[in-house]
Every structure is written in C-alpha cells, then in structure tokens.
Symmetry: C2
Subunit: 711 residues, 2 copies
C-alpha cells in the first residue's frame, strides 16, 4: 500500500495498481501515515466501519433512499434503471463519495475505483457498514474536518470545478419523447408564447434522427432544420438534441464506417467490434477509453453545431443494452423448448424472466472490452467510466467547435464527469415519491460535484396530473436544470395540457423561475467558485436530531430554506424551522411575508402559491420576468431583506456565455438598521442595474424603499 | 330506474337489471325519490360529481394512495398485482364504497356492480369526479348523514356484520413461502419458544401440498401431519394451510375428476372446462357462482379439518392466471418470428412485453364463463365476485365441519365477502412505503367491512432489514391480523433472523402484542357490534384542515391514537396532536407517561420503544404476556387511565371460540376523580379477573392504585 496526501487536505491510500476513475485533479504527493480503517483484500476487497447508535452516513449521489443512507444497501454501478422503486440499489450514476458523522466527528471517504462497489450501510447488521469492492486495485481517499460542509469543500477541491452551463441553461425547457416533427415542436413553442409562459427551448428526443442514427437529422420531419434552429435562436430559444452511446451498424452510415476503419469500437473477445442492440437495433459502442476515439467521436458534434445547435444530452451511456445476439438466441430457444409444455410456476417464471432479463443483463458487460493505455479491460472492470468518458469526448469536441459555453448533460456519470457536463436524474416517473426523491437527491448530487442537475419535472414515465406538475414545479424552479420531460404514450405534460387551474399555476411558477434566475445563477457560480454545495441538508447545519432528520426541506445557498409539498391532495404541510425565518408567500398578485418561529408547524401551502423561507440577516434578489433568458435585462431588482441588525448579499453576474468568466461582477448589497432607518449601500452594481426596490422585513413589519443607481 | 330504501337509511337506485354483488343484506323496500346525481348510460355508464376546492373523498378500501383519494385514479377490478408501485390503480380487492365530504356535507355511495369500475377523482380534471361502470345494469346506493362516521355506520348495517375470527386469530403468526417441511417448521416453532417469543401458529404456503394440488399434504415432507397438527394445537399453536383457486388437471386427482364429473368448473365458449395455468401448471377453476359448486368445493376443506386444521387462507382467487394455452402459443410464435432479426426499440419491447404480459392478461377473463342462476356470464362481467364466492364456499363448508369459530382469510375480495372471512393485503414488499400504505389502508378496509385484516409484516417480496421489521411491528401489533410473511428467495424474516438488537426489539413488541389482546379483541367486537370502524382517520373527527390532512396517524377504538415511524433511519417523527393526549412510551423495563399538548411536535421514537397516545377520559387495559392466546389468563389487568373529571372503559370478553358469543361479558371500569382521590367502580368483572392495577395520569402526575375483585 502506498500513501499520499492530496492537495494538503486529503489522505489517499493506494491498494495495488488502481485504474484511475478520472475523478481527482489535485496532485498526489507521497507521504507516510497509517491506515486506521479495517480493509480486507482477497480478490474482492472489503472496507469495514462500525456504526454507533447516532452515526449518520450522507452521500452516494444519485441514489434513492434519502439523505441519510444508514439502514440501506447501495451499489455504484451505472445502470439504465427504468423503474425507480425504493428497493433499487443503483441508478445511472456511480458516486462513491460519502461522509460518516456521529456526535464526535465527521469523516469523508471517496472510493477511487471504476468498477462495481457495494455499500451495506447497517442493512445486514445494524452496526456495520461494509463496502465491497469488486477487485484488489483501488484508491481510498479520506478527508477529515470539523463539519460535513468543510469536508465536502475539501473533497470538491480535489475533484475540480464543476461544469458551468450558459446562463440560458437556467431557463425552462420543454421536452417529450414523441414530438414527431418540426411542425409539432413549433406548435409547442407557439403555445407557450400564446400563454406568455417563458421558455428557453426544447430538448429533442430520438424522434429527430433518421433511424436512430447519431448526428443525423430527419429531413422528412425537419425539412429546414438549420434555418429553423437559427430563427429560434434569434428569439432566444435553443434546441437540444439527444446523442446515444450506440452507433447503428449500417453500411454507408459514416459514423459506423469510419468507426470500424479507425478501430474506434469496443471489441468482443475475438477482437471484433462487439454487437449489441439498443434503439436502432444492432449497434457498436465507441470505445471512449481510447483518447483517439474520444477525439474522433467529439468531432461529430460539429455536424450539429454547424446547424446552430449549442446543447446536447448524452443518453444510454451506462451503456444501456436491450439484448445481444447470443442472449436473444438463447431466449428464443427456450421459448421453442416450452412449446406445448405444461409449465408449472417455476418453469413459467423462468421463461418469462428470461425475456424480461434480456434488458440490461449485466452479463453483457463481460462480453466486451475497452482499450486503456494499451491494456484490454472488460466493460465490467471499468464500467462506471463509460458515460464519463463519452461526456468528456463531447465536452472536448464542443470546446473545439464553439467559442463560448454550451449546454451538456449526460445520463450515466461518475465523479470526474462533473467537470464536463451536468446530469439529469434519468427515467423517473410521474410519482409523488419521485418528487420527494428529487428533493432529497439534490444535495447528494452536489456533494458528488454535480451542480447542473435536476429531475424530469412532472415525471418521465407514467401519467402526470395537473396537481403533480404544479407541486413539482414548486420545487424544481429552484434546480439549475429545469426540464419538463415525458415519455411516449404518456399523458401530455406541457403546462397547458391540463385544466385551466394548472395552466394558471404553472405559468405563475415558471414566470417566477425567471425572476429567480439572478439569484440562482449567482448562487451557482458562488458554489462553484467556493467549492460549496448549492443545496444543503438541514443536517449539516443544525445539531438537534430533530432537524438532522428532516430531509424534505433543504437549504439553498446561504439565504433560503425551501419546503415543497410532496404529497397528493394537500393544502399544507408540516414544516420544521430550525431557526426563526421569514416566510415569503408568492401569489399571482404579489407576495406576503410572515415571521415564523423556530420549531414544528403545520403551514398552509396552497397550489397557487410559492413559499420560501428567508434566513435572518439575508436577502433574496428577484429580477424581471422575461420570455427567456436572452430577454432578461434586470435593470430593476427587488430585494427582499429579512433584517437582523444588518444584512448583506453578494450577487455574482456575468455575460452568461464566456468560458473564462472574466467579466464577472460581484455586487455587494448591504443594509444597516439604525435608529429606525435602513442605511443602504450597493458596491459594484452590475452593468444595467438602475433601480433597486428594497423590502425590509423586521419584527415590526415591512418597510419599502427604492434605491436608484447613479450611473 | 327503480328506487328503494334500504334499512330505512340508504337510498338505492337500480339501473337496468343489476347482477347482485352479494354485498347488501338489509331489505330493499320500493320507494319513490328523485335522482340528484348526473348519471349517463350508454353501454358503459358514467356517474359524475363536481368537486369543490375543499372536497375530500375517502374510501375504495384496498387501494394505494392514502386516505383521501382526491387527485388519483382507481379501479375496482380484482388483480393479482405483485408490484405495488404508486401508479397501480387496482389491487386484489374491489371495494366500491366511498364518502365525499366538503365543509357543507358528507355523502356515502356504494356502486353495486360486480364488474370493472373506474374512478377518476379529480385526476384528469381537478374539479371532476367521474365513475365509469363497465355496463348498463348496476345499483347505486346513497347514504346521507352528518359525519363520515355516521354514514359508514349506516353503510356497515346494510352489508351485514363482519366475519369474527377465533380469539387465537389475534395472536402472532409466522409464515414463509419456502419452509420446506415439517422439520424446518418445527425448528421455527422451537426457536420462537427458545427465545420466549409468543406465537399462535404458522401459515403454510404452497410448499405443503403434493404438486400444488389443493387439499393434499405431502407425506414425504410432512410424514405425520395429523399427529403433528394435534400436538401443536395442544400447546396452543395452529397451522393454517393455503388453498388456491385453481384445481390441477391430473388424471386420478379426486378434486379434478369429481369436478369434471359434477360440471363444477368454469367453461370456455365451447362449454368445455376452461384451461389456464397457475402454480401446478394447467388447472380448471371451480365455478363458485354455482351454489352446487360452492357446496361441493367447501366439502373438501373437511379433508384438512379432519387432520386438526382450523384455519385457511384462500389465495390466487382474483383469479390469478399465469398464461393460457392460446396466449403462450402466440408468444412462442412471436419469439420464433424474431429469431435472427435485427429488432429495433419498438420490436424488441413488443417481444419482451409479450412474455411479461402473459401474466394476468385481462384478455383471459373474456375466455371463460360462469353459470349464475342459469345464465352464462364471462368472468369479466362478474369478475369481482370470484374470490368472494370462493370464500363463501369455504366459510359455509367450514361451518359444517367445525362447531366453533375458525380462521379464514382471502386475497381477492369484494364487499360482502367481509361476512365470510378477513383479508390480508396481498403481495406487498419490504418497502418503507408499504408500511406507510399499510397504515393508511387500515381505516379504508374497515369502511368496506373488512375488520380482520393486516399486511404481511416486514413485507412479502424483497429484502427486509431488522429496522424495517421492528418499525413495522410497532404498527402491526395493533392490527387484528398479525402475520410476518415473506417470499421464496428473500432474506429470512423471523424476529431472530437479524441482529441481536432486532431480536430484542421484536421480541419486546410481540410480547406487548399479547398484553394488548384484551383491548384489541374487545375493540374488534365492539366495532362489529356497533357497526363502527376500529381504525379511524383523524379527518373524521377533527375539522381543521391541518388534522384532516394527517394520514400517518390513526385513531384506534375510542381510546388511542397511534403514530408509527414509517421512514428509515429515524429516531423520531413529526406527530400532530389534534387534542391534548397522554403519550405512553413502553420500554422493555416498563413505561413512562407524559402529557403532550395539542399541535405539531417532533417526538423521539426510538426503535426499542412503543409509543401510543391515550385520549383524555379514557383507559387502556393491558393483560398478561403469554406464549400464546390459549395461555392468556389475564387474572391481573393493568389499566392506564388518563383522567378527565372521570373516565370509563367498556371491555368485551368472551370464550374466543363460540359462534353465537352468548357468553360475552361487558365489563365496565369507571373512575371518578374527587377531592384528590380516585373512586373506582368495576361492573361485571369477567370470569377469572382478580386484580386490577390502576395507573391514574393527571396533569399533577401519576397515581397507582390496586383494586382486588371480590369473587
């Protein structure tokens, strides 16, 4: 075992010869220190921790089961999991970072390993946390600190700054698997405009391609794609096409032919390109583990950027596999064998399950190989890096094709990929429990470096109701990635697809989202620059077990607490205030404020409202409503201030596009409450800011004051 | 349309010629009154209600989605649904009764129809409740009253008294699909005794039969079944075998041969016995719609009662169907057709889904027929009566074979069946959300007449943890049916199968269950006799929307509120007290009491405790711990009294076995608090009661007093 210090903050234990998981960017400096954890290595490796009565375990990023993972089992092994029931132990991301905290101390750990890792966190035995690593070669990073937040900041430094989207990436996006053609999408855009619902664009699902071939656009269904893309962009609207991991096997298709010629595809045991089936039927998978392949694949994105595209979503890159030739053949053989037989329960379920299990059978991962620095590795060994490297390929390609920021998200991910793109949380459903999981997952994703993220608002699979869409938006208007997306053959899910009530509610909320963009964008950039989380559990800041256990309320930035309604049929919810806060309730007609005491409450939260809680001594800036980010001017800013003796707010702004962010302005708003008056100071007002409307809330009431910027 | 009054309480509208759903027992008396609801009839029928902002809809029995069904969609169509995700609109029961309540009034409705009914309760449009009935002939019963409770009592009268189990049915039962033989089961019994965990018996899943043939016992695996059954019974332990709806097709098998000979099986279009496959492979389904078949099938239960059996569970009686010959053949043909093809996404999912959808395809229900009063009906038309009539058949048979009460539960049910047996809530999973659904479903099952009911504690499918088993028991020790049951190939789920901590906790809880039996049994009998619910939503008793919306706390009887922890990893929970109550916290060493004020709280609820809330002016009787119900003597009773000016409690006891309950004793405990003293009076002490230990709780503290009965 070799030991290192990383960036003067973290200890790193190297067992065997780890394959880099592409996560850590800070230097490893050899140093000598002992191993305190119990680690057993024997083909598989095992790390053991004992858990005290009050130990909590936070982390593991994109996983179900809430903020404190104690009591559950999880796996880091990227999976195309379409059915997010609570027994699922892995989803699309492999985020091997967690913090263990008890009354005495907190320690962070990162398991640096690209294959399968299993975490049994007091599930099998209540007081044992066992990590099983599917191999002998791995790194273990250990970070100590006085609080989870401090540890997480140290960790975020070791893995490097998250991807930064363009500012228009903070707009609202509509999406649907099943928008057939340009005409139908244009109608969606027009209907949004007709109802004065802002949007920044449309995600294009697979429907835009020719026979599911990457980097093609169906001319039949999108007759003037370039002109259309450009005319939309002039109005501030972006199209974001999907790219899949699998490349269709088809003679004459350039990506396929060049891939074969350049040896760019993952191979089977015989060294031939491996054949699996996804959307188009049979495909090859680009071997993104080869640098030349990353460069090669990244170049194809230019086919679409040339047409005006500035954003992409990389999908199916766990990679998802519907079947391979061998397994399909075996299943058909079994079906033939069952013909005319009298199948009892065991035989029948075996037949049925054989067909069900074709989908994403993990056996396939042992049947194809990647080339990494001249070595052949099965996909299983380096599985969690596939989507990571695909997105790196896209990021590096797009950085060559465009001279400004672009939008890029991926479904599969592992830590390290956060530097190249965001993630959406995959194929959730129109379930209330998935709204609740969305809330609880946000801080965990931040812990893993994923800041540009969000769930499919309203749910991807299944049937949404107007009530669910409204309630989901009451949360997701705070998430950096805000997309309403739904699957083929589900109920239409656009804000106007439900009853009149839902249209009014969702319109109100999406318009509020645009007013929140100055705040959200600033909070994002501050979090990136300071290596801090944007969404934070109450547990990280309040010591009483009462508040440590509240997971359906989150802190956002330094200013806000949000407590969305995540249950059907309610007109209010239980809210626990860990300190006195100002409750701000937005209605269509304006807002009301009320100071709410520390402790448990049941508070009304009607569907046509938006409620936030502002901490004492803090401010919330609200900008303009505009029909998209391009039109946002924010010459006038409303500042809601919950006064302590004084209050301060730091607002980051920039042009929203430049990669270096050299034009960043840090505006400082400060207020002192003295002798009944509010003394205001504004340092470094951003360009264009003309008027600031202050609303000072104190225990005595609300005072309004307008401040004009002298230019 | 004909109109009737039922039992002077309910209005009944008869559309066309309804097929009786076997639910209503009170007389229908012709009467003339107008129809106020909007009803449209056109092959299907539609009933429309408009929903106000504050309208709540309670009911529909065994369904997911909580107590207030507003905002969701449901179906009454019994289904073998193994995956209880929140989008599922029907489970095993069809319970067509609900109450609509708004600030002004409450009305109850029962849709008297044995086929498919769909309920869209503000899902599609927020303000519309649409009931779609799959036919033109049905009855609609309407019950008015000032409160939901009053309406429910009137409804329960119209459908007749619920099934009454023997007192030993209130014990704890262990079960598992996969207990291989007598030896393994005896080991389970012995291990319970060794750990001093009480139990009243074991449910036998399919493993006990010969080739899944009903009414057979494998002599290979159960070599001396009769002697064993009897020796267990002497110790107070019961074996409860499963009976399935499907009868194996096998030459020489008496049930099959006699069934064919007597024309007892449901037939296909050609009039031949319909062939479907379930556990044993190919089966016929008894046509329970024929009175002669009910009598015929019910006689076979004698084969087992002769061996000492006194309880049964009727399973798979929706009926579940794995495949039929036609559909399996078609699926195999499709697989052959796919051989060697390049299947894209649509073709692949079509293939995969064809095999998945073999299981319980509703098409099968159109392919077989029942004979009802000389008329042939497709199963689809009368689907929801199948399990109902099967259980009636068993009940009537067992009433002939035994001269005292017996235990009988069923998986499929519709209202009316509650007179013949209880239900368990089917194949749930070891999910925390299923514990929460268990809580919320209990009062709705009571509304539908099902009192002897409970969920599989710990969850049937999936992997349970010790924590989940403990938390589940903290709720289910209050449910009349208390069974820990789990599926083949899941983690062992007996109380001792986890860590030491779980063993201690679960043992403590199961022992407490036995101390609660006097109270639970009495509460059950009072509920039956008074036509009142045993488990009640807060919403029925408190007017503020705050308490109307709390669904994870229940009232039990007139005395208690229970608020179980239904989330993982918690040491407490939010509890909302609709009035001041006494919190009683049981630890292994005894109990502590504390008065908790009205309003929202966050209360500690450790895993090794049991917490209940006692209403003011009420008492909770606690009996002895015993190793089973047979051994319960209760010569000494502890009475916890939360004093108002006075307090009273009515305790029903009987011998626990007699059908007429003629020996029932109604003991009245009353206390008056006067001048610092507690004046106690006990009327009609039950036989054997010698000592009552009173604990009087007031705002001033706890006073203990022992009262001896003069015999």
């Amino acid at each position: 075992m070799n030991t290192y210090i990383i960036g003067e903050q973290a200890k790193y234990y190297e067992f065997g010869k780890p394959i880099s998981s592409n996560a850590i960017v800070e230097m490893k400096v050899p140093a000598v220190f002992p191993l305190e954890e119990i680690v057993k290595i024997e083909r598989r490796s095992e790390i053991q921790f004992s858990l005290k009565e009050d130990t909590r375990v936070y982390g593991l990023g994109e996983n179900l089961g809430g903020i404190n993972k104690r009591g559950g089992r999880y796996e880091s092994y990227c999976r195309d999991e379409a059915n997010h029931t609570e027994d699922k132990i892995n989803l699309y991301g492999a985020h091997n970072f967690f913090v263990i905290e008890d009354k005495e101390k907190a320690i962070g750990y990162f398991v640096d390993f690209p294959g399968r890792i299993h975490f049994d966190i007091g599930f099998t035995n209540d007081d044992e946390f066992i990590i099983t690593i599917n191999g002998e070669n791995f790194g273990l990073m250990k970070i100590e600190g006085s609080t989870p937040s401090e540890i997480i900041t140290k960790f975020l430094k070791t893995i490097g700054k998250p991807y930064i989207p363009p500012k228009w990436g903070f707009g609202y996006f509509q999406s649907r698997w099943g928008y057939r053609d340009q005409k139908e999408i244009q109608e969606v855009v027009d209907t949004f405009q007709q109802h004065e619902i802002p949007m920044d664009g449309i995600y294009l699902d697979l429907d835009y391609m020719v026979d599911f071939k990457n980097f093609t656009v169906s001319r039949e269904r999108f007759p003037d794609f370039e002109d259309w893309t450009k005319s939309l962009k002039e109005k501030g609207l972006y199209l974001i096409p999907i790219i899949d991991a699998g490349v269709k096997i088809e003679e004459g298709y350039n990506v396929y032919e060049e891939g074969v010629k350049g040896d760019h595809f993952a191979v089977n045991q015989e060294g031939e390109p491996y054949v699996a089936a996804v959307w188009p039927g049979k495909v090859h998978f680009p071997d993104f583990f080869q640098e030349k392949t990353r460069r090669w694949f990244g170049e194809y994105y230019r086919d679409l950027t040339k047409m005006g595209i500035e954003g992409f979503w990389n999908d199916m890159n766990e990679p998802a596999i519907f079947y391979d030739e061998k397994s399909l053949e075996e299943a058909v053989d079994m079906a033939i064998d069952c013909r005319g037989k009298n199948l009892n329960v065991h035989k029948f379920f075996h037949l049925k399950d054989t067909f069900s299990n074709l989908l994403n059978d993990e056996k396939y991962h042992q049947r194809f190989y990647h080339r990494m620095d001249g070595e052949k590795k099965t996909n299983e060994e380096v599985h969690n890096l596939y989507g990571n490297y695909m997105t790196q390929s896209a990021y590096e390609g797009l950085s060559r094709h465009l001279d400004h920021r672009f939008l890029l998200i991926s479904r599969a991910s592992s830590i390290g990929m956060h530097r190249y793109g965001g993630i959406w949380t995959g194929d959730n459903a129109s379930w209330w429990s998935h709204l609740e999981e969305n809330v609880k997952m946000m801080p965990l994703l931040n812990m893993a470096g994923f800041f540009y993220t969000g769930a499919d608002t309203g749910g991807f699979g299944g049937q949404c109701s107007g009530e669910l869409l409204t309630r989901w938006l009451q949360f997701s208007i705070f998430t950096p990635l805000l997309r309403n997306h739904s699957a083929l053959d589900t109920r239409a899910q656009e804000p106007y697809a439900f009853d009149k009530r839902t249209l009014e509610e969702t319109k109100h909320l999406i318009r509020l989202r645009y007013r929140l963009i100055p705040y959200l964008y600033s909070t994002y950039m501050k979090a990136v620059d300071k290596y801090e989380m944007m969404f934070k559990p109450l547990a990280f800041f309040y010591k009483e077990s009462h508040y440590k256990e509240i997971e359906d309320q989150l802190l956002l930035g330094d200013e806000l607490m949000i407590a969305p309604v995540v249950e059907r049929g309610k007109t209010g919810r239980r809210v626990d205030l860990p300190e006195e806060m100002a409750k701000i309730e937005f209605a269509d007609s304006g807002y009301t404020v009320e100071i709410v005491k520390e402790g448990p409450h049941y508070l009304a939260y009607q569907r046509d409202r938006l409620i936030i809680f502002l901490k004492k001594g803090h401010m919330l800036p609200l900008g303009d409503v505009a029909m998209n980010v391009k039109e946002l001017k924010n010459e006038k800013l409303d500042l809601l201030v919950y006064m302590d003796e004084n209050a301060e707010h730091l607002l980051y702004t920039d042009d929203g596009l430049s990669i270096d962010r050299n034009d960043q302005v840090k505006t400082i708003f400060s207020v002192i409450h003295r002798e009944g008056d509010f003394l205001v100071d504004i340092k470094n007002p951003y360009k264009g800011l003309k008027v600031v409307n202050f609303s000072f809330l104190t225990n005595e009431g609300l005072v309004k004051k307008t401040h004009r910027i002298n230019s």
